[in-house]
Amino acid sequence: MDAFGEGPPVSVMERIAAEALIVDVDGFEGPLDLLLTLSRTQKVDLRQISILALAEQYLAFIEQAKSLRIELAADYLVMAAWLAFLKSRLLLPPDPTAEGPSGEELAAHLAFQLERLAAMRDVAAKLMARDQLGRDFFTRGITEDVTRSRRVKWTVSLLDLMQGYARIRTKDDFRPFVLDREAVMTMEQALERMRPLIGFAGEWTDISSYLPDGWDLDPVRRRFSTAATFAASLELAKEGKIEIRQVGTYAPILIRKRQPRGSDADG
């Protein structure tokens, strides 16, 4: 795409300046580039360049290329034709009847184009000479931006993990435990239920009688309400409201309202 890059541009210019017989047209990026290079041989400020002389230089260059049977791209020939036309316009006295822009106007525009291209090349070089990111100055090495944290966001707590495991190992019976809130009784609920009742518990009573009505029919409900009721009993005993006893292993657990000290011997 850019054959120019293969050889340093300086050397091409030098060779042209030395008027060596090189007609490496492919080495130029089009007629404008060639014109700009040729204009350098005039060794004047681009703003004072003689377009007439440049046109002649160009035409001579093209002639030389032709004589060497070098195939020229169409746009080089178009430019040659246009410059020949421009040259005639510049040389002949202005024809008032002729239409279109004058030779001077055309020449001025070509000079502008050359100057603009030269300026662009100049600033391009300045731009590339600037300090560049990743070469002269640097960005943060350890970033903590979004992408990084988003990846670790697949999160799960140890609790989830353990509950997940428990869920598997207790698959069949676990479901009602978890989902059937109807079957769950908390110690608070049991306490609430027992507090008003214990005032009447003068005699030893099996705690199972404190279970909510009907809860003893369903095994799951019985288990939970028994546990809750037992826990509540312990709590009440701690508060000094009741006494608990169990005569033997697996024997019923009995409770009664706490008796005044010494008034009952059978505790």
Partner: protein, 215 residues
């Protein structure tokens, strides 16, 4: 500005300059830097340890701090500003139930084969679940099992232990402890004490409950 490398042939750059150098290096490198590495990078005669100490002081109380990472140094966000970094980590996605259960089985039974996981879960384990856990660096391949077909086994990784703050997979609480901690209820609503949190679970220890846990 003169290239500090040049002048370094004769004398070390002034300490202020060395501080700037350490600052720039710590900022731009992808890894924390040891003092030895700093010495290697900086002009001859520099004293990065001293420059580091000054830099560290300079960043005290700032939005970022010079912090020690092992025997190396890095610039890190001040801990109290961490919330600013997490702001955009909105994409909190919970692991799927399948992934959690698979992970749990691997953690509790490692080394475990895929067939064993499936047997325990009672359903097949999708390739994607295993892949996801591997990609998260929570599970890895263990040694092959000495059974017909020599199937690969899965084990949990150091990354897994780190994430959950465990020293080893043996530290995972057993079923008994799970129950004692009241963890067998899926998600106890706040303020609602569930069976097992009070002394009540002594009763729950009865036959029925024991069956539940297959003990």
């Amino acid at each position: 500005m003169a290239d500090p490398r040049e002048q370094s042939l004769f004398e070390a750059p002034p300490m202020g300059e060395q501080e700037r150098m350490v600052e720039a290096i710590l900022f731009a490198t992808a890894e924390p830097m040891t003092v030895v590495e700093l010495v290697r990078r900086m002009p001859h005669g520099c004293d990065p340890a001293e420059a580091l100490a000054r830099l560290r002081k300079r960043y005290e109380g700032r939005g970022v701090n010079v912090t020690r990472v092992g025997d190396a140094w890095a610039i890190r966000t001040a801990p109290d500003l961490g919330f600013l970094m997490q702001k955009e980590t909105v994409e909190t996605r919970k692991l799927s139930r399948a992934a959690i259960e698979t992970l749990a089985i691997i953690a509790y039974h490692q080394p475990v084969t895929r067939a064993e996981i499936e047997e325990i879960r009672g359903v097949s384990v999708s390739r994607g679940t295993i892949d996801q856990l591997i990609e998260m660096d929570w599970i890895g391949l263990g040694r092959r099992k000495m059974t017909p077909g020599r199937p690969v086994t899965f084990v949990v990784t150091q990354g897994f232990l780190d994430h959950f703050g465990l020293e080893s997979a043996r530290d995972l609480p057993g079923l008994k402890e799970l129950r004692a901690a009241g963890l067998l209820d899926n998600r106890p609503p706040p303020g609602m004490a569930v069976l097992g949190q009070a002394g009540g679970d002594e009763v729950a220890e009865d036959v029925g409950q024991a069956e539940l846990f297959g003990e």
